[in-house]
C-alpha cells in the first residue's frame, strides 16, 4: 500500500513539474518573453545562490570535519606511519588554504559581477605577469610537496635491514595465511603445483613433493579408470580428458622440480632453500613484536589481492607469480591501542584492498602486536607445530641425470626458489 502511495506521489510530482513548466512557458509566450533572455530577476537569483552555495559548501565541509574527526583512523601504529601522517597533515594544510582561496574567489566573483545592461565587462584578454605568477606559484608549492613526498618515499621503500623479522602473508580467495621461518630463520621454497589440503602454501620439501606426486598418480588413475569404464556423454569425456591432461602435465613439472631440488640439495646441502621449508610455521594468525623492523613478503595463490593494514599505514598488492615486500616497524601494541582508542575490542586489521571476488568484502585477518617477550613465547608455542617434522640430514645425493633437456624444462617450471627473494 505504501509502495502504491509512493508511486502515486512520484507520478503526480512529475505531472506537477510538467504542468508548471507548461504554465511558465505559456505565460512567457503571453508576455512575449524569449527563453534566451535571462531576466534581471533570474540573474540576481543565481548570483545570490552562488554566495549562498559557498556558505553551505564550507559549512558542510566543516560539519564533516568536526563530526567525523574522531571517527577517522586512530594514531599511526608504525614508525613510517607517523611520518606519513605528518606529511598528510602538511599537504592538507597547503590544500586547505588553496581550496578556500580559490573557492571564495570563484563564488564571490560569480555572485558579484552579475549582468547589467548599463555596464561593460572589463576588457582583459591577457596579462603576462599575472599568468607567469600563477604558473610559478603552484610550481614552487608543488616542488616543496614533491621533495617532502619523495624523501619519505625513498625511506619507506628502502630495503629492510638484514636482521628484520621475516613474515610471509599469503593471499587467496578469500583468506590470509601467515608463514614464519621457524627455527632455521629462513623460509623454504614454494611451488603452487604442490598446493593441496595439507600444504596450503605449496612449500617444497622432499616429503611434500613425494606426497603430491603420489596424490596426482592416484587422481590420474581414478580419472583414467572412469574414462575407460564409465559410459559418458561426449562433453563430460572431453572435460575429463582435459582434466587428466592437465594433471599429467603438472606431474611432469613436479618431476622436473624434483630434479632441480635434488640437484640443489646435492650442491648446497642444508643450506639449500629446499631444506628450509619443513620447519616453517604456517598459521592463520598474524603476530608481530613491537618496535622491531618487520619485512613482510606478500604472495597470492589465485588473483591479485592487496594487503592493507590501515592502522599501520601499510599497503602492498599480492600478485600471483611474484613476491612483493614491504617493511614496517610497529610502534604500538594491540593492548596499548585498546587503551588509546578506549575500545576493549580493538584489533589491528589486515584486509584485502584489491577486488578479488564475491567475498572480497570479508577477507580479513586480525594482526596482534605484542611486546617482544610475549611475542617470543607465542612464537615458541607456534613452532611446536611446524609444517613438517624437521627433516633428517640430507640423504646421500640421488643420481640425477642432468642433461640439457632437463635444464630446459626446468627453466619453464617458473617458481623455483622464492625463499630468498632478492628484493
Amino acid at each position: 500500500m505504501t509502495k502504491l502511495l509512493i508511486l502515486i506521489v512520484v507520478v503526480l510530482g512529475i505531472l506537477a513539474v510538467a504542468q508548471l513548466a507548461r504554465v511558465y512557458e505559456l505565460t512567457s509566450r503571453l508576455r512575449n518573453k524569449r527563453e534566451e533572455e535571462i531576466s534581471a530577476g533570474d540573474n540576481r537569483f543565481n548570483a545570490r545562490m552562488m554566495w549562498a552555495f559557498l556558505v553551505v559548501y564550507f559549512g558542510f565541509f566543516l560539519w564533516l570535519c568536526v563530526e567525523y574527526k574522531d571517527k577517522m583512523l586512530p594514531v599511526a601504529a608504525s614508525a613510517h606511519g607517523v611520518e606519513l601522517d605528518w606529511l598528510m597533515d602538511f599537504n592538507w594544510l597547503i590544500l586547505f588554504i588553496v581550496f578556500v582561496i580559490t573557492n571564495v574567489l570563484l563564488f564571490w566573483f560569480a555572485g558579484k559581477y552579475v549582468y547589467s545592461k548599463d555596464r561593460r565587462a572589463y576588457w582583459l584578454p591577457h596579462n603576462n605577469k599575472l599568468e607567469l605568477a600563477w604558473t610559478i606559484a603552484p610550481a614552487s608549492v608543488l616542488a616543496v610537496i614533491i621533495i617532502y613526498g619523495l624523501t619519505s618515499w625513498a625511506k619507506i621503500t628502502s630495503p629492510a635491514s638484514p636482521d628484520a623479522v621475516v613474515v610471509e602473508l599469503y593471499a587467496r580467495q578469500f583468506d590470509w595465511t601467515a608463514r614464519y621461518p621457524g627455527g632455521d630463520g629462513s623460509l623454504g621454497a614454494t611451488d603452487f603445483r604442490l598446493i593441496n589440503g595439507t600444504n596450503a602454501l605449496g612449500i617444497v620439501t622432499r616429503e611434500s613433493v613425494a606426497t603430491r606426486l603420489a596424490e596426482l598418480d592416484a587422481e590420474i588413475a581414478k580419472v583414467d579408470s572412469t574414462l575407460a569404464n564409465a559410459i559418458l556423454a561426449d562433453t563430460k569425456r572431453e572435460e575429463l580428458n582435459d582434466q587428466v591432461g592437465l594433471m599429467r602435465r603438472n606431474k611432469q613439472r613436479i618431476i622436473n622440480l624434483r630434479t632441480i631440488m635434488e640437484q640443489d640439495i646435492a650442491e648446497k646441502g642444508v643450506a639449500s632453500t629446499y631444506m628450509h621449508g619443513a620447519d616453517d610455521v604456517v598459521i592463520k594468525e598474524f603476530h608481530l613484536p613491537v618496535h622491531q623492523e618487520v619485512k613482510v613478503l606478500i604472495r597470492s595463490q589465485d588473483v591479485i589481492h592487496s594487503a592493507y593494514l590501515p592502522h599501520l599505514r601499510a599497503q602492498m598488492n599480492a600478485v600471483p607469480g611474484m613476491t612483493t615486500t614491504i617493511k614496517m616497524t610497529p610502534t604500538i601494541t594491540t593492548d596499548s591501542m585498546r587503551l588509546i582508542t578506549k575500545n576493549e575490542a580493538f584489533d589491528f586489521i589486515l584486509l584485502c584492498n584489491k577486488i578479488c571476488g564475491a567475498s572480497h568484502y570479508n577477507m580479513q585477518m586480525p594482526l596482534v602486536v605484542t611486546d617482544a617477550a610475549t611475542h617470543e613465547s607465542w612464537y615458541a608455542e607456534a613452532m611446536k607445530k611446524p609444517f613438517q617434522t624437521p627433516a633428517a640430514p640430507p640423504a646421500p645425493p640421488v643420481a640425477v641425470p642432468l642433461d640439457s633437456a632437463a635444464t630446459a624444462v626446468a627453466a619453464t617450471v617458473g617458481t623455483v626458489a622464492q625463499a630468498q627473494p632478492t628484493h
Binding site: 599537504n91 570563484l106 584578454p125 614533491i146 600471483p320 564475491a358
Partner: protein
Amino acid sequence: MGATTAHAAAHGHQAHHHEESFISKYIFTQDHKMISKQFLVTAIFMAWVAVVMSLLFRLQLAWPGEGFAFTSFFLGEKWAPGGVLDPNMYLALVTIHGTIMVFFVLTGGLSGTFANLLIPLQIGARDMASGFINMLSYWFFFMSSMVMLASLFVEGGPASAGWTVYPPLSALPKAIPGSGAGMTLWLVSMTLFIASSLMGGLNYVVTILNLRTKGMKMTRMPLTVWALFLTAVVGILSFPVLLSAALLLLLDRSLGTSFYLSDIHIAGEALDHSGGSPILFQHLFWFLGHPEVYIVILPAFGITSEIISTNARKPIFGYRAMIGSLFAIAFLSFLVWGHHMFITGMNPFLGSVFVFTTLLIAIPSAVKVFNYITTLWRGNIVFTPAMLFSIGLVATFIAGGLTGIILADSTLDIQVHDTYFVIAHFHIVMGMSAIFGMFAGIYHWFPKMYGKMMNTKLGYAHFWITFACAFGVFFPMHFIGLAGAPRRYYSYSEFPMFDGVVDLNVLVTIFAIIGAMAQLIFTYNFFYSVFRGPKAVQNPWKSNTLEWTTPVEHMHGNWPGPLPVVHRWPYDYSKPGKPEDWVSQITPLEDGEEEH
C-alpha cells in the same frame, strides 16, 4: 527537427539536390549534425542505465542486506533474492557502471556529440572530412553499446572485475562468474568502441587541420576546437594500446597463452599458465587509462572556456595560456600512468618518476582554474543554465584536483590507495566536472542542435539540485576513505572499525537518489524541448563563433551561401569601442584595430 533539408539545400549553392529518405536522414546519416545528435541520445540512454545501476548498489551500501522492491524489479530473483543484491552482482554493477560512464557517456557521448557538432560549425567547414567514416564511427559506437548491454543478460552475469578488468580476476571464470561470457562480451564491446573512437578521432584531427575556412588560423580557433583536437590526438595515441591489452587478454582467456598469467592455483587446480605478469596488463591498461581521464575532461574544458567567456561577456583570460595548458596536459597525460600502480610492487624509483610527472600536471591545471576565475572577475555575467554548469565545473575541478595531489604523492597513496578517497577524488574531478561540461554544452548548443530552446527555469532547478547533490554524494566519501574503508566492498558490516563512518553511506545514498531524480528534470526538459520547445533564434547567446552564423534550420553544408571568412579571434566580448558587447568572428577588423 521539422527542418526541410531539401528545401533549404535548394536555396544553397550545393549541387546535390535530392529528397532524403527517413533512413538516410535519421539512421545512416553522414551529416555531422545528425550524427552528433545520435551520439547524444545514445549517451543519455546509456547514462540512465549507469545511473540506475549506481542506485542499486548505493541502496545496498546504505542499507546492507535489506530487500528493496526497486532492486528485485531490475534484477529479479537470481541476482537479488528477496530484493537483496547478490555480492557477485554488486561487483558486476560497479564494473558496468564505471565502464558505461567512462567510455560510453564521457568519451563517446561527450567527444562524439560535441566534436561532431562543433568542429565543422566552428571552423567553417561544410562537414567532416569523411562523412562516411563519421557514420561508421557512430554505428560502431552503437554496436559497442548494444554488445555491452547484451552482456548484462548472459549466464554468470556481466564483467565483474572492476572497470579496470585486472587479470587474473578478469581472466578466470573460476575466480568470479562474471569473467565468463560477460567478460568476453565486455572485451568485444571495447574492441568495437576503440574502433569507433579511432575512426572518430582521425576524422576530427584531419578535419581541423585541413578544412578550416579562410582566415581561421589555428590561433583563431575557439578553445572548444582546440580541446577537441588535442582530445582526438590523445585518443588516437592511447586507445590502440588498450586494444592490444584487450586482445592479449582475449588470447589468455581463450587460447591458453600466458601474457598476464602465471603460477595460479584456483578451484583445486594448478593452471598451465607460466611466465606472464598481471602487472603488464596494468601498465598497458593505464597507458590508455590515464590519458583517458584527460580525453574525458579536455572537451569539458573546451566547452566551458567557450561558455564562460560568452556569458561573462568578457574574453577568456589568457587564450594562449589556455591552449598552452591544454598542450601541456595532453603531453604529460602520457607520462603519468604509473601513479595508479605505486603499490603493485613496481620499482620504487620508477614510482618517484611518476610522482614527479603527475604533480607537474597540477601546474597547467592550476593555470586553467586561475584563468577561469580571472575571466569571471569584472565580467558581466549572464546566468544561463550553461553558465551555471560551467561555473560548477570549475568548482568541482578545484575540489577534485586538490585531492589529486594527495593521491599523486606515492607516500600518501600507500594509505589512501583503493579506498573511498579515490572514489571521491575521481568522481568529483573527472565524473562531475566532465558531466557538468557535457550538461553545459547541451544547454548552450541545444538551440543549434534542435532549433528549439530548452526551458531555463527547469535548467536552473536541474543545476542547483545536481550541484548540491554532487557534493553531497562525493564529499563525504573522502571521510569514509580516510577512515580506511576500501572501495568495491559489498558491505562494511564485517568490520567494526568502519562503524563510525557507515552512517555517511546513508547520507550519500539519499543525496544520490535526489541527484538521480534531478536528472529526470533534465531528461524531461530535453525531450520535451526537442519536440515542443519554443523556436530558437539564430544567435540566442549573442556569441561570436561561426556556428551561430548558420541558419536555425539544419541543412547539408551548413551555410547556404559561400563559407564565412574569419577576421578575428572568437573572444571579442565587450571590446572597447564597439557598439555591442560582442563582435562576430566574421566581422572584418576596422582600420587600425588591434586583433586582441
